[in-house]
Amino acid sequence: MNSLLLARWRMFRNWARSAMESRWEIIKVVSVVLFGFLLVGCLHWWFYRALSYISGVTAIGNLLMKKLFEIAFLSSFFLIALSAMVTSLSTHFGAKDLSLLISWPIKSLVIYLGKAKEAALHASWMVALVLVPFLAVLMKLKGQDAGFMLAALLLFVPFAICAASAGIAMASLFVSLFPRQKLKELLGVLGVLIFVMLYAGIRLTLPQKLMRPDELEDVLEYLAYLESPAASFLPSRWYVEAMNAYIAHDWERMFQAMGIVGLFAAGGLALLIFMGTKILTRRRWARVLEGGCDPGETIAETGGEKESCSPAPLSLRRIFILKEIKFFLRDSQRFSNVSFILAVGAIYLVSIYRLPMDTPHLKNFMSFINLALGLFIIAALSLRFCFPQPSLELQYAWIVKTSPVRAEELLGAKLLFSVIFLNVIGGILVCVSPLLLGTDPALIPIYLAASIFCSSVLPAMALGIGSAFPKTRFENIIQIETSFGGFLYAVCALIFVVITLSVFAWPIQYFFKIRYFHRSMDGADWAWISVLGAGYLTISLAAASFGWWLAKRSWKAFAV
């Protein structure tokens, strides 16, 4: 175990050393760090504005803050658990060094726990990144010292261990029950499981009650709801309890709550040990891993000569599109990533259906918020699905590059497949949500247009940036998405989505003015809309064209 830990430290140290030797690598690392600081800064600003407002609400401000604190950590728990579950599918069952580790005289439990540590780290660092500014704002608003932040971060460790253990254990149980070669077929089930867990997590907090206190019978009931802890059987409740006790300087209560969080973590570790020794035994783990070793049929085994048949020759574009479809349907990692995002989208659609929206103004406002979220989901899907494609294709680049095939043919197929996929998903998201909310159907074409633009431009940008910044060595797709190129693409995609929302906000605003304030559009309004439209069309075409050009240029320059 010590040798493996030492090796892991050395790998990190060597990576850092080799990064420092290259100017380009230094620029990449510095950019990522700066972007990280910018993100944390923006989150801090946003949290400060939101929490200051909420804490200032008369009489119930503190209760609202407490509830929000609980919701934040309850959501974090489920996010870490789900992320660990998905990551564990790679670290425990797809890592390239697994055969090496298993062939060594190391106990399988040691390997299992080592991989669990990897999965837990991958799953929780991003959540921690978002929670730090949240806690910093809380610390400031509650007038606490640095000890608050220190306690919060230290307590986060056992909290994350518990959440990650739950996710990893669930992945191990799932994979041990179903053979690996059937996993891709059962990912639908996994997607439903994710759907249920996330929905349960959000529903447990009963967020709608925060918005409509008058639904409750009396004020006392509302206050009781605010005061009652959410999901007391989860460590998030005790985490919040401990930090609230710190704020109140109730040290005994704080240590008790911390102890309970620690017990949850110990329980999580015990669960992992149980999974590693009783459920995912050495034999069962080997069986799962061998699922990729199907030797396939030989002609002798089929009992005779195969008939030779010559199907009609397909066009190159069709061949490549069929290849993309098959790769997508057979690649379990990409499938799980995409199902995860789709499940989040589905949960959101169901939840907004239950939101109590009375007035048309509120409904239409919410439907615009839905558009924003729908476009962000499209951007997330493009990052998860479109951006990694050039890096994945590089593994087999020698096949295409040594064939009489132009780069445009291969890239065109990828682009077409991505555009169709995103347009279908985006269209469903932005059309269904307004219908669920009962908004004016006349707005739907505007939302659909925004979705079509994003779903068509973002894949081209993803393909271009993914080709210009490919990741040649990786063990799972997440490493491609979180590379420097992935960060760069995420920023560009966000910027494009914000531009889209800013542009489409205008026709929506004019629609409201005409429909609800009986104002008509004058010449200046039409001119402004035309200028906006032309400008946006130019930007979209430029972004898509540049992405396409970059993809072609980079692909041709790839050295195989």
Binding site: N2, S3, L4, L6, A7, R10, M11, F12, N14, W15, S18, K96, D97, S99, L100, I102, S103, W104, P105, I106, K107, P179, Q181, R282, R283, A286, R287, L289, E290, G291, C293, D294, P295, G296, E297, T298, A300, E301, R473
Partner: protein, 249 residues
Amino acid sequence: MIEIQNVFKSYGGIQALEDLNLHVAPGEIFALLGPNGAGKTTTIKLLCGLLFPDQGTIRVAGIDVLRDSIEAKKKIGLIPDEPYVYPKLTAWEFLELIAGIYKLDNGWAGKAEHYLELFELGSVVRAKRLLESFSHGMKQKVVFTSVLMRESSVWLLDEPLVGLDPKSIRAVRQLIVDHARQGGAVLVSTHVLSLAEEVAHKIGIITDGRLRFVGTKKELGDSLHGQNTGISHNGDLEEMFLKATLKST
């Protein structure tokens, strides 16, 4: 030293190995030959605990691999067909990792240096280049060194010569012979029939998961000659192999 008895192995309904019985004595070099997908790599993976058989027993140096895999693995030196090494480690760090895992005594460093020089990797290792910059052949040599420095009694070699330069191929051949002379057992799976011809004491031919023949090259020639195949007693191993695999399919 290597005993496989009545082993069956299937993958999702497809029989990869059927009633495999194989024995390699101490001091013996056994060359396992067969067409692609015959079951050679499956056999090696079963021996080193990467796979579990559906039925049968597997012993290495007298230790049941299924019951006591940790102890069995300590006796095994595996050279896989695709040598995975941690890309962000240097060669020496990788060897240090192996030394730590196998709990080798301090003498391992001297042996490692000796074999690295033998494979002409000394200067590359001293330059502390990361393994990700090594070619396939260079990685193969590092993995070889990791096996040689720990003196395992049983060697399992899956296509050991792929990617090696001629000088290294000669060195590997000699090392295999020396290891057997010192009492070790070697199971080598290869498509390089000249390796089998030059060093193997016994040859096994496996096709479609079944071991069709086990014996010396002469015994294979006698067996095929007696079946009116046109093969002479002391003919070319390649001709014998092609006839043998053609007959069995």
